[in-house]
Amino acid sequence: MSGHDSPPTVGVSTGPATSLAYHTGTWRTERPVYVDLAPPCSLACPSGEDIRGWLGSTQEGEVGFEKAWRRLVAANPLPAVMGRICYHPCQTACNRGDVDEEVGINAVERFLGDTALARGWALPAPAAQSGRRVLVVGSGPAGLSAAYHLRQLGHAVTVREAAAEPGGMMRYGIPAYRLPRDVLAAEIRRIEATGVRIECSTAVTSLDHAQAEFDAVVLTVGAGVAHHVDIPAGAASHIVDAIDVLRDVASGHPPLLGRRVAVYGGGNTAIDAARTARRLGASDAVVVYRRTREQMPAHPTELADAVGEGVRVQWLSTISAVDGPRVTIERMELDADGRPHGTGEYEELDADTVLLAVGQDADLSLLSDAPDVTVVDGVVRVDPVSLMTGRDGVFAAGDVSPGSRTATYAIGRGARAAKAVDAWLASRVLPAEPVAREASADRLNAWYYSDAPKQHRSELEAARRVTGFEEVLTGLDAEHAVFEARRCMSCGSCFECDNCYGMCPDDAIRKLGPGMRYEIDYDYCKGCGICAAECPCGAIDMVPEVR
């Protein structure tokens, strides 16, 4: 730059005095102040990921990938898994949805997760040994997250798993077309490499014995037992639990279901079971659900994928009886409160097998010697801040405790439990999570975000999908992942676009250099508010001056 840095030397009639002598900042009634607000994506993420942060590193391209992944695994040690199975409430919350289409956060997470596996990046080394021993019961998402975070804090962690392989519902519930097992195994191995000891085929049956052996216990046994309903059924009827079918398929023993399969239920397990039935050769897979599409707990994208694969849904229907291959269905109607009631109208459906997917319960048999651990509505009651159960030193997280039953939520609660155990071991009180101020959509100036469509992961052709358990969604390549990351609007946090600096009519903002952002020169800032109005991401507040 060939800037004129010397003081102005001007026309013949005036001396060399400069306007810098006059401080126009005294005119100001409001002052601009840079702020950092919480973006809606992170506020919506049950795993507590700093999404804006790791997308920001991804935007830099190749040089930023590892930094992005490290920011990601600071919260979630399973990004390649969650990049596939998370229902991404972050994207539902994303402000970009109001501009064109929400940022494909989940696809970028998967890209970073897969890149880390391909390049063999190791998780951070744990802190110095604390000398304390913690047992985690169960190796699902909550257990693995708790174990990882406890190990990071320096504790000696053992995970005991009743099944033959680790992963919980990720291993035995979610079908392989959504989560390839090699990806799951690789991310679990990486956690083990930090020093977490996982003992499989080792059921924990007594809390007393566990506490004798360990300083603290975290219960993350999940909810892997099928809930049952009473349906009158003839002797020849073939009724099985959907979760058992998924487990058998995942264990390499696919059952024979027949040509026509009915699935009873409306959750993600029901949809997974129906899609699995199609892959096992059923030409007709019908989901029978007693309410409407709007009320269905299954994720809309799962439902759409299932319908795309030929799964049918019979809405407002309950199974009232099963007799051999004949299933009797009662039509339902909703009352004013949206609750379904029988209409007395019946119809018949042919099904070789009926799969029950009407909910899952926790296996709480290990609590038989622990009456002080209270169970309410089938789940273990915990303190909402400390996640401690009724028994000192015993914590619970994931599906076995109250809350949303998703892997994402389980990872977040597992991390929270790790913090809680760490605080308890040190006799500290864990503070409640702070409530952050949200960078809402009305703060943004969307004009500056050029229209940039979401990079869609190409889906396998539906026809190809139903023939096997190949993964349905393919990942983004590096170029598209970077592009998608750059669609992030950085809500509520300065990303150095130079708008404030360039658009100040009073030249009263200093640019401090890459990564250092800007500084307002209040000696000259008149408080016009153009910087705040033209800030794309809403990172400037106008605050009344108090003199």
Binding site: G3, Y22, M489, E496, D498, D507, C528, G529
Partner: protein, 331 residues
């Protein structure tokens, strides 16, 4: 269009800069060591778009001239708020003579430099709409007609603002000013008056004529660079929202310039030797009310009885859109 194409890097072409841009892709204004030709401490009102546009224009011109730029300034806000005796907010060599003669003074400087064989030093003249469209028009026209080697920049805030907001021949129809009050059957400035300085400049068939706004920095910088690459008479007309005279929020100056362009009210164009060569297309079309309603000088259009005038504004926008093909796709 001479606009620089910027790849999509979180923001695209519309933001001032961006941390992911290469050095070549950065605007002059995004550099930490930009010239800041119009420096801090000037007395322009809060949110003055003229002060902003003048810095943008001057910084780009100073860069293009390798630091060798002389500026002649007409009387007007820009002169008054930047040079209160004995202070000056200007860094380049700068001269003010009279209201009417900025173009003539610049012509003289250019002739003198040419006589000395100093073709490396460039000359820029600037003024408001009063000094350009009304009072200085004869000198400007003469400068154009002789094809003198001067870039003349008009910052059009559509009235005599620092003397108390009187009308000029650039004041738009229906606008309330101190001399066109919002009373009677046809409140504000009358329809059918005023003149288009851009068309007048084009009619002189000078090498380069362009219009711009502070709503598009990249476009403005590119036009100044283009103008500086050409010898002879050049004219740049910049619409500059005025919180004082327009009765708008100080924070809204950029947004109003954007609305003026996106509604079709202010065509952003380029012309060479009298021929229209390029126009900036409307990106997200808005109704004229998005431009008019935030301005108190048009408040009477939004009271009962203002509908007819609003319709005439819409017709004006439609005419511009047609004439300049602002929505694209006509050719």
């Amino acid at each position: 269009m001479t606009t620089v194409h910027i790849p999509f890097l979180q923001t695209g072409t519309l933001a001032v800069g961006g941390r992911l841009l290469t050095e070549e892709e950065r605007s002059v204004q995004s550099h930490a060591d930009r010239p800041s030709s119009l420096t801090k401490g000037h007395r322009a009102c809060q949110g003055c778009a003229e002060a902003l546009a003048a810095r943008w224009v001057m910084d780009t011109a100073v860069e293009a001239a390798g630091g060798k730029l002389i500026v002649a300034n007409a009387t007007g806000c820009l002169e008054v708020f930047s040079t209160l005796y004995p202070e000056s907010a200007w860094k380049p060599p700068w001269i003010h003579s009279l209201f009417a003669n900025a173009a003539a003074v610049a012509t003289g400087i250019a002739a003198s430099l040419h006589a000395q064989g100093r073709d490396d030093v460039r000359v820029l003249a600037q003024g408001g709409d009063g000094g350009t469209v009304d009072i200085g028009l004869a000198a400007v026209s003469g400068m154009f007609e002789r094809n003198d080697d001067v870039l003349y920049v008009c910052y059009d805030n559509q009235g005599y603002m620092n003397t108390g907001v009187q009308r000029s021949s650039a004041t738009p129809a229906t606008a309330r000013t101190a001399t066109t009050p919002a009373v009677g059957r046809h409140p504000g400035q009358a329809f059918g008056q005023g003149k288009s300085m851009v068309k007048i400049a084009m009619a002189h068939e000078i090498p380069y004529v362009a219009s711009a706004t502070p709503a598009d920095l990249r476009d403005l910088e590119a036009k100044v660079r283009t103008a500086m690459s050409i010898r002879g008479a050049r004219y740049l007309h910049v619409l500059v929202p005025c919180p004082l005279g327009w009765g708008s929020a100080s924070s809204a100056s950029i947004a109003l310039a954007r609305a003026a362009v996106q509604s079709g009210i202010f065509p952003v164009i380029e012309a060479r030797a009298g021929e229209l060569t390029d126009v900036q297309r409307i990106r997200e079309r808005v109704d004229v009310s998005a431009y008019l309603e935030p301005q108190a000088r048009f408040a009477h259009l939004f009271t009962p009885g203002g509908e007819d005038a609003l319709d005439r504004w819409r017709a004006l926008a439609e005419a511009n859109i047609r004439r300049y093909d602002l929505l694209g796709g006509a050719s």
